[in-house]
Symmetry: C2
Subunit: 565 residues, 2 copies
């Protein structure tokens, strides 16, 4: 028998343990060591906000197998014959000697571990804004298990009244919910003009309105200037515009960067985002060193650009590929990301896959977009609202991406779009999709299909859409615009935009055409609650000679601005 | 202006109204008449079981728009300028004269309506078994609105104690739940050896066990012989094997057949299943007559065979195509079905897309299958079980179909597989899919991806699977078989098969290899709760020289037989 292969994996969160376990399954004889700086292993780090928020109380649930066994070094040794060295910091890679220098953090002793194959899964580090006061007590991130432990104690001790979450991205927004559920008064600060930048602005506004409706204070377009304190303790944060917000706790969630220092110091090539550069086999510029997870860059499958995609699901998949290739040679490959993501925020969910309009335009694509609003299920099954934005390549109708928000079943919708992007499908490929329908699960025409229908109508020139933002802009600029709300009087009474619209219910429209502008070239914008009746109204007007009729996409349900009522 | 096109649509449920509405949107001048035999229009017939089951109480919710307007003839006239003639039976088509003979069911008056284009959406009729006693009071189907009204009265009046549902298909099983929720003691009878024949047997058994756990009596492999009665009222049903079941109510749910009589009498071509034959444009053998919905046959997109696919979602999509082509000529096409379906049954859901193993083999495919069991979400987010069976073409790994059952999020899983089938994807295309992950929605490696991983391991010869049925057969045949349960002692104590298995926890396996058969060719079957540890155990044994090691797919979670505990 040949000498057993020595494999060292650095990093014990997601990609590392996955790579080590996969390597073990493919090579029972390999000598596998997992080096982990912290004391915990295989932490379900995406679960931290839910632990902090009290969705469950047993910390071990973040660390255990589905049958409740904590994944500690004893578990790794017995179940997988993997030597997991926790509290052990990897210091440096000696590529010439094919060895890693490590330090036992308890004893301080250093040691050199030789490898045949090295797998780097060193993860990401939180970005820390360089502002004064960063060393005050009461400032944390939600990156490591110790952060989760700290914030959970905050929840349990109930002494903190006010907190500020700095960063309105995915982690920030999840942390915001967690702390709000802990009974803390929360302000979220975001430097950019919107929350959740994976969404286009108008969908992010719907999420923001929901967050505000839960009593959270949201400040966008304003950055952190300083932490304020007294006696070494945080007492508030100061914003770029001078505003001071008193608080006893601040959570930094302004993104992460690849933890690639050791790789860089060892001379491994890095990518444009500072992540370790790997080929499709998860192999670094040193053929004996693989890398996976939040420390690497991977290609975007649509744009081809190198991306930092620090998602737990991709880390696991990349780790699986790295583990297999480390023992068998380069036999499997990883195709990259389409930046699919989802998060829960109170009763809302927000998800995305592929390119949004902003990122598509940045990538130089000529795109068409459409917004669709509908229930996810029939009203009689307590259906809930979904608002989607679909982005397609104008040249060929190819689906580039979609975003979905709302209280409805966003998860299935985003999964459907992700599969459509993966399958390189176009709008015409999905307009007659055969999807699972029964009233407990979807509408007879699933929201996904209905969204494709709208795009099909738009590409055929039947649906001439106009965005809510464009309507607002025209109204504020005083452009002549006939705004036609075609809902019923009771609906109009209960909820309306109040931007000068005229109510003519669809059912009366054909008899009341005389109330429309006599100039057949006048610009008319039709809408209703979701703009399905608005679309029908526009077709009636066009058939009667009006030449400049548009439908406000998504209707009142997708209106991202305050309403009159 | 040319003469307005006269369009007649026969059938007012799903496909008909959709076709009429689409035609109107594309031709404001057309003269559109919708002929409906019953008094209601646009009934959400898939919602009947939920109305009967008390999920909601307002009958109008089955008939109204999302904003609560009942879709009656006034609504159709005002909102869509469509003349809806309810209580009007279409009697015959005179193709030469291009006219339809109709009868007003209130007045008895007959009339001839000329058409330029005719759209047939006559739906399906319930199969009625030709057994004695069929005219007794207390026998119904759940096909029409009047059936739903009758069964809802049964629920509200609370006088009926026992009912029999004849047929364990989709409608039967939904009716079973509805009546059980109404407090009625239910027996479901199915002629075939399993419920829900869109599932392969072993998954159907899991559903059956769940149905039984709710107190429902299930009898499979036994048909209806006669209805028994006294004084014209149903008192029981008699089965083929002589068993008599007392009951005051019987619901017939033994499938439907296309309602194609009028088409046949008019000389239109029918398909092998008795449905109206249409081309991809939903056009019948008469170019001026289109058809859509449950009265037609459509091709299966994988096998190419002609299918009767009476699903509400397809009816809508077909109606949309028929409506467009009827006014614009044949400009859009409908590609057919992959027989995607889903149903809720108590706390379980069961869904399918594409071919199951049985239908794939019937279609002459050489397939590989795998069963996967896992939670849908992490345990700490209250994840629930999913059991999936994936069917792929052995020749090229192409995904032919998948079935998913369990209390977990079946809807998203089936949607993902349906999109994979639609995109003609293979296993290798989906093993690194980028799907929406966050703990409230899925595992880090989504069940869908994990199922593909299992299949990938199987196709590569790493995972040698054996089905639970094959294990049972071998045990009962007395074949020498070493059954190795690798769970923990506490798990074994709480739940076990009791078929002669030996417990050696995975964590102890490498030290206890001496307890395995000394004959390295002995057949060994490894398993655990879901057979993930079972797979790891099998790899350990193979690495130690055992040559005939298999993994029982799906583990105990997918065991379709009674357990010892």
């Amino acid at each position: 028998m040949s000498k057993n292969k020595k494999i060292i994996v650095i990093g014990g969160s997601a990609a590392g343990p996955k790579a080590a376990a996969k390597a073990r399954r493919l090579d029972e004889r390999a000598d596998i060591t997992l080096v982990q700086k912290g004391k915990d292993l295989s932490m379900a780090s995406c679960g931290y906000p839910y632990y902090v928020g009290g969705f469950f109380d047993d910390r071990n649930m973040l660390l255990c197998t589905p049958t409740g066994v904590v994944r500690d070094p004893v578990y790794y040794m017995n179940a997988k014959n993997i030597r997991a060295r926790t509290n052990t910091e990897a210091l440096a890679i000696d590529r010439a000697a094919k060895a890693v220098r490590v330090r036992d953090l308890a004893s301080g002793q250093e040691e050199t571990l030789p490898y045949d194959r090295l797998i780097l899964a060193t993860g990401a580090l939180p970005n820390i804004p360089p502002v004064p006061g960063g060393d005050l007590k009461g400032i944390t991130t939600l990156q490591g298990m110790e952060d989760a432990d700290f914030l959970r104690r905050v929840r349990d001790e109930k002494t903190i009244k006010k907190a500020v979450v700095i960063g309105g991205g995915l982690i920030g927004i999840e942390t915001c919910e967690a702390l709000q559920l802990a009974g803390i008064e929360i302000t979220v600060i975001e430097l950019l003009p919107q929350l959740l930048t994976f969404l286009d602005w108008e969908l992010a506004e719907l999420v923001e309105a929901h967050v505000r409706s839960k009593g959270v204070n949201v400040i966008t377009g304003n950055g952190l200037a300083a932490f304020l304190g007294q006696d070494g303790k945080l007492t508030g944060v100061k914003l770029s515009n001078g505003t001071e917000l008193p608080c006893e706790l601040a959570v930094l969630a302004v993104g992460v960067k690849p933890n690639s220092r050791m790789a860089r110091e060892a001379g491994l090539a890095l990518g444009p985002k500072g992540g370790i550069l790997v080929n499709e086999f998860m192999q670094t510029s040193d053929p004996d060193i693989y890398a996976a997870g939040d420390c690497i860059e991977i290609p975007h499958r649509i744009t081809g650009r190198s991306n930092h995609a620090p998602y737990g699901d991709l880390a696991n998949l990349e780790g699986r590929v790295a583990g297999e290739n480390a023992v068998l040679g380069n036999v499997v490959s990883f195709p990259g990301t389409i930046q699919t993501g989802i998060c829960k925020i109170f009763d809302f969910k927000a998800g995305t896959t592929g390119l949004n309009e902003r990122s598509a335009r940045e990538a130089g694509r000529d795109v068409d977009t459409v917004i669709n609003a509908s229930l996810d299920k029939p009203g009689f099954m307590n259906g809930k609202l979904l608002v989607s934005k679909l982005v397609v390549d104008r040249a060929n109708g190819r689906i580039l991406g979609a975003q979905v928000v709302g209280p409805g079943d966003v998860s299935r919708q985003v999964a459907e779009w992700a599969m459509a992007v993966l399958g390189k499908l176009g709008v015409e490929d999905v307009v007659n999709a055969d999807l699972p329908y029964a009233p407990p699960f979807s509408l007879a025409i699933d929201h996904f299909i209905a969204t494709a229908h709208l795009m099909q109508n738009k590409l055929k020139g039947r649906l001439k859409g106009i965005s809510a933002m464009e309507v607002k802009r025209k109204v504020e600029a005083g452009e002549p615009l006939f705004l036609l709300d075609v809902r019923g009087p009771d609906e109009f009474e209960a909820m309306r935009l109040g931007i000068g619209e005229r109510l003519i219910p669809l059912g009366a429209l054909r008899k009341r055409l005389a109330e429309l502008p006599q100039d057949k070239n006048a610009e008319i914008v039709c809408f209703c609650k979701i703009s399905l009746r608005g679309y029908e109204a526009a077709l009636v007007l066009e058939a009667n000679g009006w030449k400049n009729v548009k439908v406000m996409e998504g209707g009142i349900a997708a209106w991202p601005f305050p309403r009159e009522r």
